[in-house]
Symmetry: C2
Subunit: 349 residues, 2 copies
Amino acid sequence: MAVARTGSNLSQIAALLGVSSATVSNALSGKGRVSAELAEKVRATAAELGYTPSLTGRALRTGRTGVLGLVLPDIANPLFPQIAQAIEHAASKAGYGVLIADSRGDVALQTDAINRLIERNVDGIVIVPRLGTRIADIGCPVAVIDSPSTPGNTVSADHWQGGQAIAEHLVSLGHRKFLLIGNNPASNVQNDRIGGMKSRLPEGGIADVLWIERHEQVHGKGSLLGLKQKLDQGFTAFAAVSDLHALRALTELQRAGIGVPEDASVTGFDDLVWSSVITPSLTTVRMNMAEIADIAIAALVRVIEADTASGSDIPRTATGTVAAAERSSVPMQLVVRQTSGPPAPIDSA
Amino acid sequence: MAVARTGSNLSQIAALLGVSSATVSNALSGKGRVSAELAEKVRATAAELGYTPSLTGRALRTGRTGVLGLVLPDIANPLFPQIAQAIEHAASKAGYGVLIADSRGDVALQTDAINRLIERNVDGIVIVPRLGTRIADIGCPVAVIDSPSTPGNTVSADHWQGGQAIAEHLVSLGHRKFLLIGNNPASNVQNDRIGGMKSRLPEGGIADVLWIERHEQVHGKGSLLGLKQKLDQGFTAFAAVSDLHALRALTELQRAGIGVPEDASVTGFDDLVWSSVITPSLTTVRMNMAEIADIAIAALVRVIEADTASGSDIPRTATGTVAAAERSSVPMQLVVRQTSGPPAPIDSA
DNA sequence: CAGAGTTGATTAATCGATTAATCAACTCTG
DNA sequence: CAGAGTTGATTAATCGATTAATCAACTCTG
């Protein structure tokens, strides 16, 4: 029944050296009192045998699995790869593995996903909540990556500042009449981005917001956004809250024979993989996911280790805390490419 | 030190009922001999206490962690979310968790990623290998999702048949001169797709292949593909091996003032999220990822369970087998949207 | 009704690592 | 040189679940 593992365990090393397994454990962890020369011998034999500690054995004894859960409710989110990669890398550096739990885009299943992770005894959870979802007290340390304006947010990109950066860029090019394209007004992220853009409007500037979900409820899914008419109304800058919607706007304008960027500028958010290869390539704003992930993991690990240190007398509910970080927002970076340019001279004919 | 867990374990239930923990274990697993009424009482108290077995304890004893690893070396792959979601769902149905390991797009790091998973004692690994990588004997059960033409492939979409479906569609619309757009000729998936498309060429049909990576080595990254000239040379159908490249082609054509689909048809592969919202929406081919994942997980679980059943006397190397499935390819499905249409009438002026 | 067989439970070992408690052998110090 | 303190190790319990081995109490059968 016992599985043939990589071969070595503590007692094998111990037997080989004629010492107790406790001594081997102490030597390798550097915790107990072991003479320098014996410790060296232990390390040598461990290396020779290719010993890797059984995380299962350790987990059973210490109560910590060394695994974090990652919950990304909005699977359709094209940022998924970037986020997953960054989190995995940051966690791996901190000595943790990452278990994924998908909620198939369904808000109700988000709780299921979280429970599945908890059943597997994850030490903590990183969650990028679906729009509007409040993270209830879960009973295990959590780091939330959403937006700085969300209560309980651990760390996230500074979407507001990103909006400002895009708006400043467009304003400096001479644009005055903006169509801001969002998807769902319930999203904190989208609201921050739009708020940031609006906050940098020049005097006399105009910024209408087009919410795609509302538009589609009226005109049907995948319908045109009517950007040609907007252009005729004098809008020259089409600033979307995501590259996804920017792409939609760009192709709709191109299809209508409108030149980008000569006749209209288009901008996005997120710098998705294809943003740089389309023609014209997309001006956008990028988040520093690596840094966000590092901060989130660091904050989470801090809570986990504080939990363990404080011992078992603390009631479980107290451990259901949302991790806090000193820096809760990371600046976004403007990426100027080809879809933004000065507005066409006004047709004063 | 002991962590305050959800509260209940086998011995607590046992103590509460005044029986031994072995009996509780037997009652819940249905393995040993337990009277029907006692079994019922055990189940009732277990439910009452909200007992969930400690997977760590079980793992230590049985040598199986109930966790699978997922290796997706090409993180930039926009299919990532779909794949991860499908695998997680299939694994979850089979009672397994999914640990991710990212190799940051680097082939060399693929091995690192795999080793990290093995150190965490995953029971098996699902891998979508990076182009051209052969999966060496890993020392743990593996399921490979690549392409039917790859040796050692467990299951994958039938990329060849997908290519045929797209080609048949375009041929039936009247196209005769195709530009097939690929990225890297070392990719089995891309070669299958292109091979499939070529195999359905009508008599006298022409199909050139444009490999983007080679093109960019000459003309620089993100450079134009020169599709306008191709159109002038009589090419009417631009069939890419991925939606990503189809999007690149589409925007390049649109930017050059060429109407899609009136003047040229464009098709992709994969049905990525944005394919349906761009204008015109993209004709493409979709893989049935849910079914592929189900088959892959089923095959993997079969190997894992066979391993365990056969006991520990079998040398470890024997367990490094690639899982095989009865059905190793799953048909792709043509999705006709707006970017494909009949070719423009020949300018016989 | 003796002996075999069955039923329903318990005992005790085990998976690997960690760690508090203990202990033997030194080394000091006054 | 007795007693306190230190050093370097071992002992043994523990985390939770599983399971082979054992056992007591029945129920048959010839």
